[in-house]
Point group: C2
DNA sequence: CTGGATCCATTAGGATACTG
DNA sequence: CAGTATCCTAATGGATCCAG
């Protein structure tokens, strides 16, 4: 294991940085957790439920779409509505998201003294 | 599971936000991954290996220490050296760290076309 | 309804030089 | 060696107005 670790050392470091680069900031993993766990949402729903202002939400959604983690569908309604949903590729992040949810739940118990 | 999800919905959201609040920024999880996987490091080692400038590193380490995720030990050397190491509580974050390392490795393969 | 445009305040992050 | 001080840039976030 030591040997493995030594040779893999550089890769391990760049790996976690690669992930942090894709899901950087306060919002991306949060948005993904909503879409992955609850399915598709419209722009307004996301804005309301997350508390993210439209300007920031637009930017975050565009970056997530660039990384193939969400898809954007314009609906033929009047006025137009737009649905965002997580892609199959985003499902591969579920392991990360779930681990963070579990840790957050446990951490809250810990700091509030159970 | 639907029922569970509905009642747990608010908690799930705040949970991931709680986690993101503790390990916010580009560096905290990266620093933790080094200390968790490689054991204790001195300030200078961390700065060199991570590429984080001293000012930022100091700030990040202080915040991690405040959250009981790392411990700081001043050694009786001349000149003084300081060792940082992950705490047992940081081990509970290993699940998150490892998931992010695995995802980053896979993501790199994906975007470079395997 | 979606989301772009503008303006402004706050914060995060980086480079460099310097002190105990 | 460890960490501060100073200075600066970029990113983040909120408010509001507006257009397709």
């Amino acid at each position: 294991m030591k040997d493995n670790q030594d040779v893999a050392c550089e890769n391990v470091h760049s790996a976690i940085q690669d992930t942090l680069y894709v899901v950087n900031g306060k919002w991306k993993l949060f948005i993904l957790s909503i879409l992955v766990n609850q399915g598709k949402k419209r722009f307004g729903e996301l804005s309301r439920e997350s508390g993210i202002s439209p300007r920031i939400l637009t930017k975050e959604l565009q970056e997530l779409e660039m990384n193939q983690l969400i898809s954007r569908t314009v609906c033929n309604t009047k006025p137009v509505t737009v649905e965002y949903s997580s892609t199959p590729y985003a499902e591969t992040l579920k392991e990360v998201i779930d681990a963070m949810i579990r840790w957050g739940q446990n951490h809250r118990k810990t700091i509030t003294g159970q």
